[in-house]
Assembly symmetry: C2
Homo-oligomer: 323 residues x 2
Amino acid sequence: MQITKELIDNTHNHISQWLRTTALDYSIELSEKTGVNVWLKKEYQQFTGSFKLRGALSCISQLNQEQKDAGIITASSGNHGLGVAMAGKITGTKVTVFLPANTSKVKLTALQHLNANVIVVDGDCLLAEQQAAELAKEKGCYYVSPYNDPYVIAGQATLAMEIHQQLPNVDAVFISVGGGGLISGIGSYYQENKLETEIAGCWPENAPALLKCLEQGKIIEVEEQPTLSESTAGGVEQGSITFPIAQKVVDKCYTVSELEISQAMYALAKYEREIVEGSAGVAMAALMQQAEQYKGKDVVVVLCGKNIGFDKWLQVIEQYEDQ
Amino acid sequence: MQITKELIDNTHNHISQWLRTTALDYSIELSEKTGVNVWLKKEYQQFTGSFKLRGALSCISQLNQEQKDAGIITASSGNHGLGVAMAGKITGTKVTVFLPANTSKVKLTALQHLNANVIVVDGDCLLAEQQAAELAKEKGCYYVSPYNDPYVIAGQATLAMEIHQQLPNVDAVFISVGGGGLISGIGSYYQENKLETEIAGCWPENAPALLKCLEQGKIIEVEEQPTLSESTAGGVEQGSITFPIAQKVVDKCYTVSELEISQAMYALAKYEREIVEGSAGVAMAALMQQAEQYKGKDVVVVLCGKNIGFDKWLQVIEQYEDQ
């Protein structure tokens, strides 16, 4: 299944009623510092604090009544889980979320507040995913993958449509990459609409799974180190459709160090007074690193989420105090 | 001139095309902590980071062509100046902003980026205001007051209309008060539409100018102390129309200490991951102080701005670290 212009347009028509149009703001100070015309796509303002609602709504919008009645299932204690739960609440669809045993109470409360049926398994993320998939199979429910699903990707693509409406001529879009759902969606939109915008994928050096796959020309296991960009960490599952799409739509690949991520998070706090999570810092860090080659160009940085524990964020920021 | 329903509706029709609809978000964690259903009106997401754009656009929208050609004038290095400059840029109206000598380079740059004609006087705010008013008189230009103008108030009233559309039934709205433009606008909207919503005015103990006037039944000089809520500080000018309007529309008056303001700013950072200025903290602080009497009610807290120096904000927040 291709992520065609038609699919993206239809998806937008189905789900835009439930979405917030998030701000695309020109940053005076970051533009001055970098020499680039820096446009910040503040997608962390989306309901649940990340872009994940888009893909989840897109999945639900194409279910038939029988499937809707059966409800949907996913496994995630992070942004994806929140997005799916919120999509269920908005559309009146029953949602079951499987969680690992170590899920924090804050995340549990947030999911329950969104009326999700929460099942905490006696084990880790992988076990939660396995049990979720098993239950979905057994009950004939739709299992919402965080990235390996054309409807999820088409949903994330609506973010690019929004950017395009807000700023028609964009030289490049910087996007943090995890499983590849967001960059596949954004890249497909620009390619399908025959726009000359460069799609720049951004990875933490510590968690470059899809990048290594692209370099090797196949999906491989990649060992990763801990990173501030928790929501983009993790491997790419075998057969994921994001792999061939990324091969086709990603023009540039940049990696950033943990230090650069934290510097970018500090810059967004200091100059924009915005608290963002590490994954948003990755895209900002990549542009700061590559500023020289984008001087005078209009570049959009997708700030994809803000779900970071405040104390953790503060630790990152305090390193730079009084500098 | 009355702030009638018709005036507010007309104003909304004229200016809404240029405004961002800012989020009204239910806060799960602040609601849990207070027992109140806490709704945050995130007006700091407005262009220029505060509500001031509304009143400025409202003024411009009622000028005739001759007045537009002559341009408008104001004096303010703060949120009002930014709002007026942005309104000028959006509508193609020439704007001159008078500034005191000690205006920071960051604020100067921001105003210049909005194409404002900036005049720095050799003196303080008062001198800047005097010279601005003189030039306006001499040139026959419209002088945009930060609060003492029915069109400014009608512009701020559109914020209430937005809240009403987002959440039809609200028990109370908490609003920080400086010159009284915002609370006059919001209060007029709810009163003119015969809604039973309580209008709660919130002041720093250190800067209660309009509150003292209301208590005395006349506009008086009030001595103020320094406050974190810089943008609400300052006296109320003689004859200000916000005084009789506030007499009519304000139902409750609350004052908060500097400690309570900083605690509220910390709570917004920790539980909502939002950076707001002191004036926004005042309204949040008042609700936290008065939570007992609003248990189970739907209360909107207007978070009116985010223009605070980051280093200053960080100092406020760090007092509460690891608590």
